[in-house]
Symmetry: C2
């Protein structure tokens, strides 16, 4: 870990089922949490359809731009699983049956009594030059080629693949955060918060109104990789919020 390096990432969620609304994605949130925990700055997510050209275009746009690219979806055994084909095309490499991947699958299939067939063998097709990402759940591996990490779309398998590749990733400056709850609205706090943000440009201050609560609530989230600055800015924000509470004659929230 280089404590001064900024490590960035993009996620491509590949699948018509997300875009049609049939499946509600949970991999974006899981990947975002994963990146934040490792000090990797997730800069962008794209959800795209199961179309080779769309995948190639999105992949080429983001892999030049960020330290890492993660993809989820489209590596199963059916005709609509075309992620490996698209990745091979984007990198200009062949997509042969990979012996190691085939062996992983055959070992699993032996214990489950599963027949080998052409559809299942699709899952052993890995772009030339790629390393495998172990799949602890259902054996069919993901793979890494260049800075692109190709994972399954099934959330349980995707998360197990993220865990498997975590030790192989460079981690960046760890970003710390402080959350401050205010019992006044964003409109009340917006002015003074903006002034504090201007004073602390290296501490990113976000403001999030809470809906469906019994009283007005705004959550202020401060983030920075500079811990001393973060603590200092948070103290100033707390002071400002206390003043706003006092002005409004409000009991502070817990």
């Amino acid at each position: 870990m280089n404590p001064n390096q900024s490590i960035t990432a993009a996620l491509l969620v590949i699948g018509d089922e997300i875009l049609s609304g049939r499946t509600k994605d949970v991999n974006i949130g899981a990947t975002a949490d994963f990146c934040t925990d490792l000090g990797i700055d997730l800069k962008e997510v794209r959800v795209i359809s199961d179309e080779t050209d769309e995948i190639v275009e999105a992949l080429n746009a983001v892999r030049q731009r960020y330290t890492y690219v993660f993809t989820t979806g489209g590596i199963g055994p059916t005709h609509d699983d075309i992620t490996a084909d698209a990745v091979a095309k984007a990198f200009g490499v062949a997509l042969p049956i990979n012996d190691e991947a085939r062996a992983m699958l055959e070992t699993r299939w032996k214990t489950t009594g599963t027949q080998i067939n052409e559809a299942r063998l699709r899952m052993a097709r890995i772009p030339e030059g790629a390393d495998l990402i172990v799949n602890a759940v259902s054996a069919a591996p993901g793979f890494r080629i260049g800075n692109v990490h190709v994972m399954a779309g099934v959330p349980l398998i995707m998360r197990s693949m993220l865990e498997a590749l975590a030790p192989t990733l460079q981690t960046g400056k760890k970003v710390m955060s402080e959350t401050i709850r205010a019992a006044v609205g964003e409109g009340t706090i917006g002015g003074p918060l903006g002034a504090l943000q201007a004073l602390y440009p290296d501490v990113k201050m976000g403001s999030y109104p809470q809906m469906g609560t019994s009283r007005v609530m705004t959550e202020l989230v401060l983030r920075s990789s500079n811990e001393a600055l973060l603590r200092e800015a948070a103290a100033k924000v707390r002071e400002m919020v206390a003043q706003e509470h006092a002005k409004a004659g409000i009991t502070p929230p817990d």
Copy 2:
């Protein structure tokens, strides 16, 4: 409605809180459902950070490409709410206080006894030439400029804005779907399903393994805007699934 027209859309989800994992997005799924219900083909979603240049770049990339663009997030009263600024910049127009928006806010603020201040008035800044999108929940409006529809990020407000703008949207060919459940795995069904997909190119066939079920289950989803073709293809897929069940000596699922 022109029954032969293909209407496409992209969604931009704007917000650091989604990329950090702090907030788990639900607007993608809601927008996907909304589009599918109206026969609008949601082609792409991007989640991007609260940075003006990122928003402008993404907006300009997608607004040329699709019939409609929807955005969620970044239209509140605090300094980190910069979506209106970025949209005005992308369209090269000014961002004045809009009288109609100001009146909507003032009417609401009168009933709630809320003080007008600079932060709150940020929410009345609307790009020149834009129409307002009514916000039934908290009064601060969204807006439409060109083919871009700018909405709040708070899910409840976002959904109310989607409902408000639904009657203003052109709707496309309605896509129908049939779901067929198979009690065999994707690897078993992949070959014959791929053959049927090749026979019916205008019926999109997706295959989704079910995890965490007590028996192996694959859900096959067929989609088409041609109802007769969809029914015909679905009958063929059902027949194929019944054969696979029979081969494996399996009782069909409900």
